[in-house]
């Protein structure tokens, strides 16, 4: 992983974007969709730390905005903040613990919620209320994203326990 760490992380990101824009819309529930890019971002930041994680968040956001045809700057902003906040969970001695146990799901939930609130707030003309923004624009997508990250942890968790 160490030698080709960044190319690998970028490859994961590209796969996540493709799935996000092709497969994820099929599992949409009331316009709430999980964010696979955030799962990859959290995983990346927990492996590389806050400084590089913030830059990764910015890069992921930039390319996501460019590839998706969305408003340029929205994902850039939200994913930069997401990368930065995830950095607070980084611990060089606990990389395996953070990425292979259910702690990862919890981190994904927190970060996906923050990211989704910022993304929704920036891309919306006028959110009805702060409560609606936090609940429907943040917590629901965050929970959905965390749910999707479960299988990843279940698979990695076995390896970690072994």
């Amino acid at each position: 992983m160490t030698k080709y760490k960044y190319p690998k992380l970028f490859l994961f990101f590209l796969i996540a974007v493709m799935l996000q824009l092709r497969v994820v819309p099929l599992i949409e529930i009331e316009n709430v969709v999980p964010d696979l890019v955030i799962i990859v971002l959290v995983y990346s930041v927990l492996s590389v730390g806050q400084f590089y994680g913030t830059m990764l968040g910015f890069t992921y956001g930039l390319f996501f905005d460019l590839f998706s045809g969305g408003i340029l700057g929205t994902a850039m902003f939200s994913k930069t903040v997401a990368g930065f906040v995830t950095g607070y969970f980084f611990n060089e001695n606990k990389i395996d613990f953070n990425t292979r146990t259910y702690v990862f799901v919890l981190i994904v939930f927190i970060i996906a919620t923050i990211d989704s609130i910022l993304y929704t707030a920036l891309s919306s003309a006028a959110p009805k209320s702060f409560f609606v923004l936090v609940l429907f624009g943040g917590i629901f997508p965050g929970a959905f994203t965390a749910l999707i990250s479960f299988p990843m942890v279940m698979f990695n968790n076995k390896k970690y326990v072994e």
């Binding site: 974007v17 493709m18 824009l21 092709r22 994820v24 819309p25 099929l26 949409e28 009331e30 316009n31 709430v32 969709v33 806050q50 400084f51 913030t54 830059m55 910015f58 956001g61 390319f63 905005d65 460019l66 590839f67 998706s68 045809g69 969305g70 408003i71 340029l72 700057g73 929205t74 850039m76 902003f77 930069t80 903040v81 930065f84 950095g87 993304y119 929704t120 920036l122 891309s123 919306s124 003309a125 959110p127 009805k128 609606v132 429907f136 624009g137 997508p141």
Partner: protein, 278 residues
């Protein structure tokens, strides 16, 4: 002094980086509708869409045959004609005679397939595999065999971005086909909604909603959906009307670009009038 400065920068490097990157993001956000930014975006999504379409080709190797595509095209054409017919039905005989001329107008449809969907609460964008090479232009309406899907917002050589009606930045002038009440349709993140319709206006659940003749961006009489709820606001003077779109955004895959830039036609017309005045 220099050492202290260096030490402070090193200690605060994460925060300085964060502030710097956020400022760049906000700068991009403020310039997102500038031509240079749109050009960059077109280039990037065009390249991405090309790679994406390669995978799409593999995935669709067992997909529908050409005759099925032809049937879908016919279906879409019939849908457009049916919408016109519905309008004629409600006009008086004199207007109907006049409108028969419009009935003879043929729409040029460009079939396309959706290769990517950005589903977010307030930003509905699809990417389709038809672009400048197929004479697709910004502002052209995109329909399915059921009704309106959205509007072309960005075009590359072989691909285009469709801003769907489930995008909060797209507001469309619409009309109730039965009572001819006009309103502005928008997406509030949950529902397609027509706001500020006076409570005394004649709108009923089940009424069909189509694009209005007053629309400056879309041709009239393209079906959008039907009224599923008439909400009375607290003040009691205005109603909010909830629309259920005919197009299933979840499973939609094959679409048609109507090769007409309505806004340009209107602009040309306005310019002609202006010229006549001169």
């Amino acid at each position: 002094m220099l050492k202290t400065f260096k030490r402070i920068i090193l200690e605060l490097k994460e925060y300085l980086l964060l502030v710097g990157l956020l400022l760049i993001s906000l700068f991009c956000l403020s310039k997102s509708d500038k031509p240079q930014t749109l050009k960059l975006q077109s280039l990037a999504f065009g390249n991405y869409a090309y790679f994406n379409s390669l995978f799409s080709g593999i995935a669709n190797s067992f997909a529908s045959a050409s005759d099925l595509k032809e049937m879908k095209r016919q279906n879409a054409e019939l849908m457009l004609r049916l919408d016109q017919m519905r309008q004629f039905e409600t006009e008086n005989s004199e207007l109907r005679r006049m409108l028969q001329m419009r009935d003879s107008v043929k729409f040029s449809l460009q079939p396309a397939t959706i290769i990517s969907k950005l589903v977010a609460r307030y930003q509905g964008n699809f990417i389709i595999n038809a672009g400048k090479a197929e004479k697709v232009e910004i502002g052209m309406p995109v329909i399915t065999s059921y009704g309106l899907l959205g509007l072309i917002s960005d075009v590359d050589t072989n691909f285009a971005v469709v801003k769907t009606i489930k995008n909060s930045s797209l507001n469309i002038a619409v009309t109730d086909q039965r009572s001819k009440i006009n309103g502005i349709l928008s997406w509030d993140g949950k529902d397609l909604i027509i706001k500020n319709i006076p409570a005394t206006n004649d709108v009923k659940e089940g009424d069909l909603i189509s694009t209005s003749e007053f629309s400056s961006i879309l041709p009239p009489s393209i079906s959008i959906g039907k009224i599923v709820q008439v909400k009375h606001t607290l003040e009691g003077l205005m109603n909010e009307i909830i629309i259920e779109p005919f197009t299933d955004f979840h499973f939609v895959r094959n679409v048609f670009v109507v090769r007409i830039v309505f806004s340009r036609q209107v602009n040309n017309l306005e310019m002609n009038l202006f010229k006549n005045k001169e």
